[in-house]
């Protein structure tokens, strides 16, 4: 009996050390942009949008650049959504950051996209990050790869690097995450259609098209507030 408890204790120590070793390996964060900020500040930013602000349907996506489901959605469903719903004026799409704590470089990637947004290239960087998603599978420091993405997206890389080193959008990303948390976002991607959480089993372009068509068929057109805001462009800063 006593021998069994000794074996059990040794096993517990070995397993504990193994778990510690598994968690320990991984390396440090690449920059100030990689971690949560010391303070959260609401700078009035409410996400980059695609499509007309006159659209009767607004879909807000809470997403994580390192999340494989989000990458799948961005590369498989999003092209059809852009063609059939956004470019036709039916839907305005809003992207909100929801970096999951399980992902080491989510905040860093979100910051890279924000720095690209500063140069009017948020959606280009969004596509770079999702279409070349192998970076999320390796666990390696993606800093140099993201610089390449920035270059390929047409950014001024020096300005991009300065932005990343400053970590100036870390608070904005955390604000977005907390906003999602308050809305009971429990995974990524999570969608809100005209403010209501989408609870369907599969978020596909077909499902969103059906919902958007149904909303449009049952609602009057939005009144025009001012002519100057009829068509929001991509990378629009929303207050």
């Amino acid at each position: 009996m006593n021998r069994f408890y000794v074996v059990l204790a040794v096993l517990a120590v070995v397993l504990g050390v193994a778990v510690f070793a598994l968690l320990k390996t991984g390396g440090g964060a690449p920059a100030a942009a990689a971690g949560p900020p010391p303070a959260v500040v609401d700078d009035g930013f409410r996400g980059y949008t695609l499509g007309s602000s006159d659209a009767r349907v607004e879909i807000t996506e809470y997403s994580d650049f390192e999340c494989p489901f989000c990458a799948n959605f961005a590369t498989v469903q999003m092209p059809t959504i852009r063609d059939q719903l956004i470019q036709t004026g039916k839907v305005q799409w809003r992207y909100r950051d929801y970096p999951l704590p399980v992902h080491k470089y989510s905040r860093f990637a979100a910051h890279a996209a924000q720095c690209a947004g500063e140069q009017g290239k948020f959606w280009d960087m969004h596509d770079q990050l999702f279409y070349h998603h192998q970076w999320a599978q390796t666990g390696k420091d993606p800093n140099s790869l993201f610089q390449q993405f920035a270059h390929d997206a047409g950014l001024d890389v020096n300005k991009y690097n300065a932005c990343m080193e400053s970590g100036r959008y870390a608070a904005r990303i955390e604000f977005s995450r907390q906003e999602g948390e308050n809305k009971l976002v429990d995974g990524t991607p999570t969608f809100f259609i005209n403010g209501k959480k989408f609870d369907g089993p599969r978020a596909t372009s077909d499902v969103f098209k059906q919902i958007a068509d149904s909303i449009i068929a049952h609602s009057p057109p939005k009144p025009h507030v001012s002519a100057g805001h009829e068509h929001e462009e991509k990378d629009h800063f929303v207050h």
């Binding site: 059990l8 517990a12 968690l23 390996t25 994580d64 399980v102």
Partner: protein, 153 residues
């Protein structure tokens, strides 16, 4: 296999399961780097909507469940508890709950997420073996217990 040996085996397996679940839970809390999995499938499973159940990472339930199984198995190893059928029933009930939860998660992996996490397979194997052991222990106890006497006889 004697009742003592069965409960010792359950305790060892529950301990291993506890540490597997602990690793996944700590990872879900953001401790450490990427999951060591060999492929990206673990990350796919761990970041899916099915990785959270009632507001907690599913691995948290594994930590609690395996921890409870371990404690009960250890307590049930006492000489006074070895002959008691109640301990076998309790272990069987706990293992059945764990197995049902595992079946739900395995279904989600195979048919909803379309990805398999090696750590989840490890845990599923452990809880299945534990369930078989508790089931066998329950049957052994039932066969060993004296037949119920008619109170009017």
């Amino acid at each position: 296999m004697t009742a003592l040996r069965q409960r010792q085996t359950i305790a060892v397996l529950a301990l291993v399961g506890f540490f597997v679940a602990l690793y996944l839970w700590l990872h879900a809390l953001g401790v450490g780097g990427p999951l060591k999995c060999g492929t990206g499938a673990c990350e796919t499973v761990q970041t899916s909507p099915w990785a959270v159940f009632l507001g907690f990472p599913v691995a948290f339930y594994g930590v609690v469940g395996y921890g409870a199984l371990f404690v009960v198995a250890i307590v049930a190893m006492r000489p006074a508890a070895l002959g008691r059928r109640g301990w076998s029933s309790m272990l069987f009930a706990m293992a059945s709950l764990g197995l049902l939860f595992t079946l739900y998660l395995t279904y989600a992996e195979l048919f909803l997420i379309h990805a398999i996490c090696r750590w989840c397979v490890t845990s599923a194997t452990i809880i299945t073996v534990i369930w078989v052991l508790t089931f066998l222990a329950l049957r052994t106890d039932r066969a060993a217990s004296p037949p119920r006497q008619d109170p009017q006889a």
